[in-house]
């Protein structure tokens, strides 16, 4: 019951803020258009096939990664402007407070990713097998929940928006660029290949590619194993950080 209402709160806050809805979908679409058409012809000339097709799974992961991390700002906001205190003095465990909020954040983020998926279909993208799309959705859900918990954990430990922005710049952007979301890892220099293999985001990008366009760099079972591990670690990180908040 509490979890449902805390979830609902996030949904209401989200649907009442039109700029947030547009902004969150706008960035990935911009990437898709700029890179898709900008690099697409080069990619084709190099004999790699259709770049937009290659790019879409990566852009979906991008939508989720940035959307879910950005959602963490809500926690800072609640912390700074008091609403968090209201929940912390209530007879509800912190685990439930975090789960309700994080599920809400995951839902809105996933809705954005779904929008990006359908918008990319307008640009000609087609998944190679529709039967695998529900599986891709499950991968997207797990990845979303993991990153949301990570964002909540970071937000619990940081006290101002600037600090959160810095983490965004120096941690999330590199994780994204070195994940193979935009460029095939096959073409990376050796050192970057090693980094990409240590980057958990790479495996979710790869899983999405396996399921949506039947291409991949790692094996699918490895992707799923890393994703599973990531969910466990991130939920643990989020919960333990959230429990430590002192007002």
């Amino acid at each position: 019951m509490e979890i449902y209402y805390l979830w609902l709160r996030q949904i209401k806050r989200y649907t009442r803020s039109k700029s947030r809805m547009i902004g969150a979908v706008g960035q990935p679409i911009l990437f898709l258009l700029a890179l898709g058409y900008g690099i697409g012809s080069l990619y084709k000339r190099a004999g790699n096939g259709n770049y937009i097709e290659f790019l879409v799974p990566g852009i979906i992961i991008q939508t989720i990664l940035f959307g879910a991390i950005f959602w963490g700002i809500n926690i800072i906001w609640d912390k700074q402007f008091g609403f968090l205190k209201e929940t912390l003095v209530a007879p509800v465990s912190r685990l439930r407070i975090l789960m309700g909020s994080a599920l809400g954040g995951s839902t809105t983020t996933l809705a954005q990713a779904t929008m990006v998926f359908f918008l990319s279909m307008l640009l000609g993208f087609r998944p190679y097998n529709w039967l695998l799309v529900p599986l891709a959705l499950i991968v997207a859900m797990l990845f979303t929940f993991a990153v949301t918990c990570f964002g909540a954990g970071l937000a619990s430990r940081v006290n101002d928006f600037q600090g959160f922005q810095a983490i965004n710049q120096f941690l999330i952007f590199p994780l994204f660029f070195l994940s193979g979301a935009l460029f095939p890892i096959q073409g990376f220099p050796k050192a970057l290949k090693i980094i990409a293999s240590c980057n958990p985001v790479s495996y979710s990008v790869d899983a999405m590619r396996h399921l949506l366009i039947n291409q991949g760099y790692f094996q699918l079972w490895k992707d799923l194993a890393v994703l599973g591990l990531m969910v466990v670690v991130m939920v643990w990180f989020g919960v333990s950080s959230f429990k430590k908040i002192e007002t």
Binding site: M1, E2, Y5, L6, R9, K12, R13, R16, S17, Q80, F81, G82, F83, L84, K85, E86, T87, L88, V89, A90, P91, V92, N159, D160, E246, T247
Partner: protein, 266 residues
């Protein structure tokens, strides 16, 4: 059932080397309006945070309506309501949605939640604005809504941490009227802090003064005046705490909040 609803014994809070609250003991009687006064940085807020389960004391015991606040946090949380110094509403929700969420968090049965929300929002004269987003409310309206919300779950004690800070005289008077009404009709115990001494003088049955982490006086207004041989509470208070201005160490969080607040008010 004992006569005191709040029972604090040897309460201490130490941050690193910094002793903020030093071994204080006091009790508040059932149905009493209790004023907790002290200069900035004296330990008022820290004490309230410990009383309301937000902060774990270094030492000592707190009993709230017979419940051990430190060990049985959740039970204790049902028995008090609190209005914080800073607003703690969700601005993006409507007034009614804020009430609703509070009722859910405190496991109030639905019928009771709906009925009492209406009663309380009428009491603080916000019923006709129930579907407005809180961000469209003035400071006084927000404070009234917070009082209504804090009372929703039938608490036995209401904590008010500087409830009238930044409000105009009219709103302040109105607010104390509500509080006195609640105290009379529901027999609710009120524990409040304020920097407006005439307010404390008017409404408090009993007052404790805390300075430098210690309680330096505790009694009725009359007793405090007699103790200090003064004519009004302000003189008594200054006699007790001295005229020196306190330099409070600023918590970076707090500094950030007040910066944003002042920007929003412009």
């Amino acid at each position: 059932m004992s006569d005191s609803i709040i029972d604090v014994k040897n309460l201490t809070k130490i941050y690193g080397e910094h002793k903020v609250v030093k071994n204080i003991s006091f009790s508040v009687a059932r149905g009493e309006v209790f004023g907790f006064l002290g200069p900035n940085g004296a330990g008022k807020s820290t004490t309230i945070k410990m009383l309301t389960t937000l902060l774990k004391p270094t030492n000592g015991t707190i009993k709230l309506d017979g419940t051990n606040v430190i060990e049985e946090k959740n039970e204790a949380r049902f028995s008090f309501g609190i209005v914080f110094q800073d607003p703690s509403l969700d601005d993006e929700l409507t007034a009614y949605e804020n009430m609703e969420l509070h009722g859910v968090l405190y496991h109030l049965p639905k019928a009771d939640r709906i009925k009492r929300s209406e009663e309380l929002m009428k009491l603080v004269e916000l019923w006709d604005r129930k579907d407005s987003l809180v961000k469209t409310f003035s400071g006084g309206m927000k404070r009234r809504l917070e009082i209504a919300r804090g009372l929703l779950h039938h608490p036995k004690v209401l904590f008010l941490d500087e409830p009238t800070l930044g409000l105009d005289t009219q709103t302040r008077n109105l607010l104390w009227d509500y509080v006195e009404k609640l105290n009379k009709t529901e027999g609710m115990t009120i524990f409040f802090t304020t920097h407006y001494l005439e307010e404390a003088e008017n409404v408090a049955d009993r007052i404790a003064v805390i300075d430098d982490g210690k309680i330096i006086a505790n009694g009725t207004v009359k007793q405090l005046l007699a103790l200090t041989k003064t004519k009004d509470l302000e003189s008594a208070y200054l006699r007790l705490t001295g005229k020196q201005i306190r330099e409070e160490e600023v918590d970076p969080n707090e500094a950030f909040r007040s910066r944003v607040r002042s920007r929003r008010m412009r």
